[in-house]
Amino acid sequence: MSQEGTTDSDIEAAIRENHPALITYITAGDPSLEETKEYVEALDRGGSDLIELGLPFSEPIAEGPTIQAAINRALDAGTTPEGFFDLVDDLETEAPLLVMTYYNMILQYGSSEASRASESDAEPSNKPDVRPFVERGAEAGLSGIIVPDLPAEEADPLREACDDYGLDLVFIVAPTTEGERLDRIMSQVSGFAYVQARLGTTGARADVSGATHDSLARLSEYDVPKAVGFGVSEGDHAAEIIEAGADGVIVGSALIDLIASSDDPAAALEAKAEELKRGAIRGADDNAVESVGETAATSPSER
């Protein structure tokens, strides 16, 4: 549910209108910003309903080995925030774009210009500020921001800036998020709730965790779009997750793996997006069938 009961944001609309939604993630600059442009377009063609672009940070504490490696490749390739925004400027995708990055990247953006600008002042402020980043993101056409190391408790400055520039600030809901904190976070979510499928870090897994089902059950009472990430790698996972009540699935590491290993990453990404979207739709259909009754639903394992 969007803030203040106003109309849906781009992101919320994309999820509701394309339900069940496929949200794809890749790291900008892996292996170069030019290639990232191709890959994003491929993911868009493949049926992504939202695309998360990672802005690489040197200390990605929430990521597993796959995305860590992607981030290192991107940094080695010289990816900077300015280059990232230039890429976003260039992109014309059907799917709305979000940036996923760590809080320090947001804080530092433009701070050296700011402090340089303030050198003329008597009291130059060297305090970092989140607004230049949000402003530039909005200008480039981003629809939202996800910050894995920014819990709701510390998010006021960024949320205010996002509100001012019309960007959604997506919060993560973990298996350990419960009770009052869950209420508070769900009341502050904009765009969608990023449901962390399991404890730990990002990375492709071979199965869907029991924690996912528990979380979705716990979240069912909140009328907020819920997308599940952390470990989703196959169409069958997507089906199972959607069937369990999610509004969307988020896939990242599985796509990074394709970039790193494919001869034609763009084609592979497009095909993978299609597989995942089909899986999601199958899950939604099963869900619909099941809600009618236990009939001849195709279980993922029979596919």
Binding site: Q108, Y109, S111, T201
Partner: protein, 406 residues
């Protein structure tokens, strides 16, 4: 935030409940001594850890510098450094909290060995993350941890040093948070870690403050401690902060130069308080060595224990408010400090502590008549490094060590 503009809890959502649970435990057990936690902690630090440590008048340094120099002897704590004060406190706290497992990061291995000792002592399973580079260059510490029964997990990512080890420990903790406590090694990380670690380390300054009053009859004019993450620093300073006439001086690692190599995002120093800018790393807003874009730099110091691109948020705050004066001395001054204390006083200090001693040599004339210096640890662990680094230089304070068969 926790300390003026600094501190906070910048952690992944999955860790927030654990961080809040720790906040609650900190308040109950540490601040309110529930179930006699602090009593047991102090008793174990006495019987297992060897506290109190002495405050020793350094006769020859006093003569050399024309003022009274007293050394707080944290090198005598079990394990060879102040690190155990914190490690034992946190492992015991984890036990009181009902946790079943301990994880910790380590750079050079000092915090890892202290945590492994504490975990063995308290019978807690323990895993230590250590960068691959550090594992391979700090073998004796790896052996010590293994002998204390800890698992040692080499971290292959990045440059394989402390920063990566912290990242990986956070990842472990994010996975196992329900049963596991993360014993962070300095006054860094999300609230309440900086306060928790400080309070466990504050025994240094509490003892030193009472000892100097007994031995010299008054409070010191200056208190000097080296600063990397800053746990020995805040541990030494904390009880002196309200004593406004006592100068508090944090000596950072100047490395080979204070100039930053912006192109390669490398700082050839670890002088975060002196040269860093505000940002968020490892859970807290603090001063950082970072590029203009916000990427954390590789820091450098001849002392592995000071080699960190961040610093405790409380120190950032105390520097910002002027209560603590940050200074830095380079690798060479630290090496000379190492040799000087070894040779003049019969105490081989850690390379970390040697920075405080190097500062004494360079700037004693700026200090008051009565000075307390924290010798945060012993230098046996640094012998190889010192020999190697001494060989590269022509150090005035270094002895000739060639007595071996060629």
């Amino acid at each position: 935030a926790t300390f003026g503009d600094y501190g906070g809890q910048y952690v992944p959502e999955a860790l927030m409940p654990a961080v809040q649970e720790l906040e609650d435990a900190y308040e109950r057990y540490v601040l309110e001594n529930e179930d006699g936690f602090m009593d047991e902690f102090r008793e174990r630090m006495r019987d297992f850890g060897g506290r109190p440590t002495p405050l020793q008048r350094a006769d020859r340094l006093s003569e050399r510098y024309g003022r009274e120099i007293y050394l707080k002897r944290e090198d005598l704590v079990h394990g060879g450094a102040h690190k155990l004060n914190n490690a034992l406190g946190q492992v015991l706290l984890a036990k009181y909290m009902g946790k079943e497992r301990i994880v910790a990061e380590t750079g050079a291995g000092q915090h890892g060995t202290a945590t492994a000792m504490a975990a063995a002592h308290l019978d807690m399973p323990c895993e230590i993350y250590m960068g691959r580079t550090d594992v391979n260059r700090q073998r004796p510490n790896v052996y010590r941890m293994r002998m204390n029964g800890a698992e040692v997990n080499p971290v292959e990512a990045g440059s394989g040093t402390l920063k990566e080890a912290i990242n990986e420990t956070m990842r472990d903790w994010a996975t196992t948070v329900e049963t596991t406590h993360y014993v962070i090694g300095s006054i860094v990380g999300p609230h309440p870690f900086p306060k928790l670690v400080r309070d466990f380390q504050a025994v240094i300054g509490r003892e030193a403050r009472a000892q100097i009053q007994e031995q010299a009859g008054r409070l010191p004019d200056s208190v000097v401690a080296c600063a990397g993450g800053g746990s020995n620093t805040m541990g030494t300073f904390h009880k002196f902060v309200p004593d406004e006439d006592v100068d508090l001086i944090a000596v950072e690692a100047g490395g080979s130069s204070l100039e930053i190599d912006a192109e390669n995002a490398v700082a050839p120093n670890s002088a975060t308080l002196s040269t860093g800018t505000d940002g968020v790393l490892h859970g807290a807003m603090t001063k950082l060595l970072q590029s203009e874009e916000g990427q954390i730099m590789e820091s450098h110091s001849v002392s592995a224990g000071l080699d960190y691109a961040g610093v405790g948020p409380e120190l950032s705050h105390l520097v910002e408010t002027g209560r603590v004066t940050p200074v830095s001395v380079g690798d060479e001054a630290a090496l000379n400090g190492f040799h000087r204390l070894s040779n003049l006083e019969g105490i081989i200090p850690a390379l970390e502590s040697s920075h405080a001693l190097g500062f004494l040599e360079e700037a004693h004339e700026e200090l008051g008549d009565l000075v307390v210096v924290n010798v945060s640890g012993r230098g046996d662990k640094d012998l190889e490094t010192v020999l190697e680094e001494t060989e590269k230089r022509d150090l005035e304070a270094a002895p000739d060590v060639e007595v071996f068969d060629s």
